[in-house]
Symmetry: C2
Subunit: 376 residues, 2 copies
């Protein structure tokens, strides 16, 4: 796929390179797919837009429930295209080749210089991409004026949208240890402090059923809502029915679409993911697990700095555990963090994209944010 | 092994049968090992003692860490015997054959009639044994005056003990469901009620770190401690060091051996075992699980009747969930129960056993109870 993309781009007159990803410690022996980078146009009087996409896809088998062969592009009688990657993200990548080709055939000059960055490791967490982009920011990408990420979705099915923000994610583990090995609850139940009891108590102090984060100070880090931002929400093409349909249930927390979208995009949330080391199979086992590790994460938003969030989380959890007066041992640590990102929806890049959408689809796009990257 | 036992018993002059276990629905096609039953002596002027043991063992491989071949009985230079089942429970079963043989060789009449019940499914939960014994209680076992279970341990390493009680176990599942499928916490975190949050809150209301059961009414069902029973504890050969050694840590709840043994034997306990349906692997996954099932069990003691315990548990959990005001759905159910058992340590069966222990070991045995059967 990398070679195909490179050849096609070259045939269209672009300058193309295939470059290795940034080095990942311990993975030097892997033959990872290259990043295809390209330049089309080099006019100093034009702005330069860097477009991102990925040519790798998730696995797919016809047996998974596909109506057509997943790796054979099939077009139905309404012109809809089916095949793995048709939306995520081979289709959008090829769209850029179509853009260049269409302009060339029509004899219309592109109004910008294009830089392309098409990677092949997105579905595996884009490992090494950040290091690659950092390095090329002073190299091949040095004159990029703005970036366009071609790997996104519409919020609903009615209107295109432009994304101007993304929540970050701080993922935590909280471990409680007691005995040296798992115990039998018949023999030891009632005579020893149980790590599961302590962990469940601590986890119950993090968030309530209405999604309120119970860790003091977290909400103080959140950028207040301005009237200007608030005004963006009512027009967004989204309904509570859309939410209920994607949930497959009516277990929504908020009564309105505005509050729902704000909860997803511009406020933090805390989710409890599970417990490692406890009994998780079907059926019954009367174990007292010796060591359990709770997993939870906080979706972060402006202006929550990771270190500030960590300190609040660690201090609070240790204080709550201390209140229990247990002889067990607790530790809490950050597994990983990914920073939030937000841009101004009034930036010229969005204005230009909005005009283009209006011209093609006949409607103004919704200005949206994202709740989280799928990789996290 | 069944055939070997049967032949040996016959050679000693016993009446022996090999009988199939009680029928287990759905398992009729399995060729389960038979119960070896036997009678030795039929003197109407003697009491009749039914002895129980099992001839099956857990699997064992030398690679598991055995110093000798697990299925080859090895005797060291101090006369200690090593081999799978030497204590649990082939050794004790063969002990009864040795008893008969020794009496015959010495020309001493056994003071009782013996009935034997040696099964081969104990390590798989003794499936079908209860039905078998129920049926034979009016048949082969009909004149049994008392039972001796030869499948137990000393509490410590110093003194033999006689067990006069066992806690029961009520094992519960509490399920919380919300969305129709697992959700991504980036997209839905903050906008939908999360089943894990609700479950962790409910589970945190069941027991505290000091082992106190928080379900109102449970402790009212417990038989009060009498002075007579209390007096049994101080003499028992057990120390807090014994507990700490078996825990592999000093995470004991109670300061004294008396309170520790009471917590294990004569008071109920509640253990949280784990959560099914949540993320339980190492690493990180930002899932909002759609359906989670918490597992916990209560060790029961006199006079806790299972139905009374269930009602208190179900009512309390439903009330605690209602307080959360969640749109998710909760259900709680009993997975299985096993009843506690307690006998009088002054019964003639224990008096006789105590005298026999004194004669052989030179010390009075400790009168102990058990915290729970291993199968539960």
């Amino acid at each position: 796929m990398a070679q195909f993309l490179a050849s096609e781009l070259e045939a269209l007159g672009a300058e193309v390179h295939q470059r290795p990803l940034g080095k990942q410690p311990g993975k030097e022996h892997l033959d990872l797919p290259p990043v295809v980078i390209a330049r089309y146009g080099n006019d100093k009087n034009k702005r330069t837009i860097l477009v991102y996409g990925h040519y790798d896809v998730q696995p797919a088998l016809k047996e998974d429930g596909w109506a057509t062969e997943p790796f054979q592009l099939t077009v139905d009688n309404q012109g809809r295209m089916y095949g793995r990657g048709s939306t995520d993200d081979k289709g959008p990548v090829l769209g850029w080749l179509n853009v260049i080709e269409a302009h060339r055939k029509a004899g219309v000059e592109l109004p910008v210089n294009l830089l392309c960055c098409f990677e092949g490791m997105e579905e595996y967490g884009s490992e090494g991409l950040e290091e690659f982009i950092q390095a090329e920011s002073k190299g091949f990408f040095k004159d990029a004026d703005a970036v366009c990420i071609s790997d996104n979705y519409w919020l609903g099915t009615e209107k295109p949208c432009l994304t101007y923000g993304l929540r970050g994610c701080n993922y935590y583990s909280v471990g409680v240890t007691g005995p040296a090995q798992d115990l039998h609850s018949g023999v030891f139940g009632g005579s020893a402090h149980e790590p599961m009891t302590d962990l469940v108590h601590v986890m119950s102090k993090l968030v309530d059923t209405h999604g309120n984060i119970l860790i003091p100070g977290i909400m103080d880090l959140v950028e207040p809502l301005t009237e200007e931002e608030k005004a963006l929400y009512p027009n967004i093409s989204y309904t509570m029915d859309d939410l209920h349909q994607s949930l497959g249930s009516k277990t929504s927390i908020h009564p309105t679409k505005e509050r729902t979208l704000m909860a997803r995009w511009r406020y933090p949330s805390l989710s409890l993911h599970g417990i490692e080391g406890a009994y998780s199979a079907p059926g019954a086992k009367t174990v007292i697990p010796a060591k359990v590790i709770g997993k939870f994460s906080i979706r972060t938003v402006p202006n929550m700095e990771s270190e500030d969030v960590n300190k609040l989380v660690f201090d609070y959890i240790k204080a709550e555990f201390a209140k229990l007066n247990s002889k067990n041992t607790l530790d809490v640590w950050l597994q990983h963090d990914g920073k939030w990102w937000v841009a101004s929806p009034k930036h010229w890049n969005f204005t230009a994209a909005g005009k283009a959408v209006k011209q093609v689809f006949g409607v103004e796009p919704d200005m949206t944010r994202e709740g989280g990257r799928y990789v996290f």
